[in-house]
Subunit: 425 residues, 2 copies
């Protein structure tokens, strides 16, 4: 049923690639040596033939001072749900199932904003730090850049990814596309707070964004001192406007909306703000009728990206299963995969580097026997937490919750190779 | 003279940021509380005032399905030397001094091509593997994607970065901008060769690109089995056309041109091809009149990016020195920095993760006393190799070489804070 291909076994590898056409015998006579009547589309661009694009010089340098993807990849773009009213409160999802590795390119990084994307002149932007501090301070972007800097690779995820609400969607992007990962560069929030000097009663920092929503979230002082960053760069270059240009917070492992974009104010207080985004929104209704507030951490989660919903296995045989796992609590320690609807599980290989609060890529060699099945992954993080099934999650959280749905997402593979979302069945 | 700020010393940190304006006393009266006559440009966008971009909804979602940088970053683009004849043999450099971290965003990844950038339809592209193999094979791009995959972060560097030829240029990008780093995803070349089965006499693999130059390089079979990759993705998304779309080689640590782009042929042979790019070009003329050929490895190297040529220190006091180091031989084990024209050296802090054959970011807290000086960095890799001065390099290589110039690059800081290339003096 499953056939794990050992990484060091050359013989089994020789079998798994079925589609590589063998050159030799009739193939040489009909394809490579130029028998026009027998040349098919798979051979006309092979040596000694020369494809059209080798017969003329290519695009000159300078046509793109800032590069863009190939026109043949024009469908790999942000995924905007058609049933969501867009504009004032909007989102665009990363097309995870089309991507590889752990770094999300900036052009495809997910976006979520509550009043559109402000166009901020960095020379005019200011960050105010005040409240329970010894010396209130005003910073320009250049002031922030003068601090000692640090670079960290971390994921960012919306807390409604997906919300607990059917239908969840067809593709991995529909399900968990409000998730991306980048290398962030900025300054430790601890350093900036120390610059102002905290008063003993300081327990929270209220962060405010410079968008028309003035998005406001309360951050426990412990997080500000642990690993919070005030960030200006993402994957090397300055933040994109959609990601908070020119300054944003990164609170590694905390729900996306707390990583306040277009950061303009840090107000140090003794109590949280109880802002709209931590009362009316981003709280979790529990079975006993209370609402869980300040549920900061994104718990361990994983999803298989290939094969995944909307894709199709066009042949039996070897098929690598690959996907991503992540945890707001730290590093991923293990990912298990089941290819028989949850009956048996086997451990996937984790790709180095395995970084804290970052995406971790996993892979498992698999051989599909052509029969219908359900495949799924579950993540375990370094705290020992195991990603739950949706049923297990509902048993604890009830039916009324919306945010922080980190359930296992199963994919159904039909006999004709079509892959669909088994959680929407 | 220098004052290393210990990471754990809050008191020294309180001193280094001179430009953060203190709110309080006269500042509160004149700026924050709205004394119109005293409000300067640094306060009008601070709470309780509201900047213009918070008064209207921002850009809606959907205006950019593939994101681009802020218009305020329009000058952060590839650096095209104006004195180089462009088109058939062209290059565009990464603006390293404007970037942070170790990942180069795809839009700014350096490019170097010998006959322009071909526009390749991936559905029409084929890769042929033939020569000293048991079973010659033809692969489509999808065939290559069906192999077990791997993702690795590696730098890529042109072997003439810079060529040994004055003037070297003004900025870090002018000097070593033919250098970038990305997370590559593809298949181990070893697996693909094993799929075809190598004959015992196989010693080299001749790689050919599908550009109008049909760029051709010979790769020792040992490298193909060590860590060579056939790559289709870069920083998550498919390769950009300038970086070899749809398939390219990545030979970690080997000079850039060997990482053949637009890969269409792997010809397994007993002898190297002695192609144009490994005879007329990319060989090193030595003092005894012979030419060193097949100088694959990019040796250990580093450069300070901030402060660097073309930048200006606008004030005395705290200034973080930061830059990048890399080695084709493995991991960077140490970077030393001198801030007194090479008299004394101190160890910089290396940013995790430190990956093999990848850029490593280094940082050193420094306090500029306002006097003219020369700053420089030197990299040491895990083999113990120490980056040489230009004089040391010339002593071994003579004056006739051009490629593989990995000398230390010193920056001169004048009394008015201007930073310039001390190697061009």
């Amino acid at each position: 049923m499953t056939d794990s291909v050992d990484d060091s076994t050359a013989t089994s590898r020789r079998r798994f690639l079925r589609k590589g056409a063998v050159i030799g015998g009739a193939a040489i006579a009909s394809g490579i040596v130029g028998n026009a009547s027998a040349i098919d589309s798979s051979s006309k661009n092979l040596p000694p033939n020369v494809p059209e694009w080798m017969k003329v010089p290519g695009d000159p340098m300078g046509s793109q001072l800032y590069g863009t993807p190939s026109p043949f990849e024009k469908n790999v773009v942000k995924n905007i749900p058609k049933d969501l009213p867009q504009y004032l409160s909007a989102s665009g999802r990363t097309p995870l199932q089309d991507l590889d590795g752990i770094i999300t390119p900036n052009g495809l990084f997910y976006e979520r904003h509550h009043a559109g994307v402000p166009a901020i002149d960095p020379a005019q932007h200011r960050l105010m730090l005040h409240g329970l501090v010894e010396r209130p301070l005003i910073f320009t972007v250049d002031d922030i850049r003068r601090f000692p800097s640090t670079s960290q690779i971390h994921f960012l995820e919306c807390s409604a990814n997906p919300g607990y609400k059917k239908p969840y969607g067809k593709t991995a992007s529909d399900l968990v596309g409000l998730l991306s990962c980048a290398e962030w560069t900025g300054v430790s929030m601890k350093l900036v707070l120390q610059e102002a000097g905290l008063r003993p009663e300081a327990k929270w920092v209220i962060a405010e964004g410079a968008d028309a929503a003035a998005l406001t979230r309360s951050i426990p002082i412990e997080k500000c001192f642990e690993d919070a960053l005030i960030v200006y760069s993402q994957n090397g270059e300055r933040l994109r406007p959609q990601q908070g240009y020119p300054l944003r917070l990164i609170l590694p492992g905390f729900e996306g909306n707390m990583n306040v974009k277009w950061l303009r104010r840090l107000h140090v207080t003794a109590e949280p703000a109880y802002s709209r985004e931590e009362t009316s929104k981003y709280t979790d209704l529990m079975p006993d009728g209370t609402a869980r507030e300040f549920s900061f951490y994104m718990e361990a989660k994983s999803i298989i990206l290939r094969p995944s919903g909307g894709q199709r296995l066009d042949t039996k045989g070897f098929c690598e299963i690959t996907g991503i796992a992540w945890s707001g609590r730290g590093k991923i320690s293990r990912v298990d995969i089941s290819v028989d609807n949850g009956k048996n599980w086997q451990e996937a290989r984790l790709q180095e580097p395995i970084l804290t609060r970052a995406l971790t890529r996993f892979r498992l060699p698999w051989r599909w026997n052509g029969e219908p099945t359900v495949i799924q992954s579950r993540a375990i993080d370094e705290t020992g937490y195991v990603q739950p099934t949706l049923a297990e999650l509902i048993a604890v959280r009830g039916e009324a919750f919306y945010y922080h749905n980190n359930a296992i997402w199963p994919w159904r593979i039909s006999a004709d190779g079509e892959v669909s979302n088994a959680a929407d069945d």
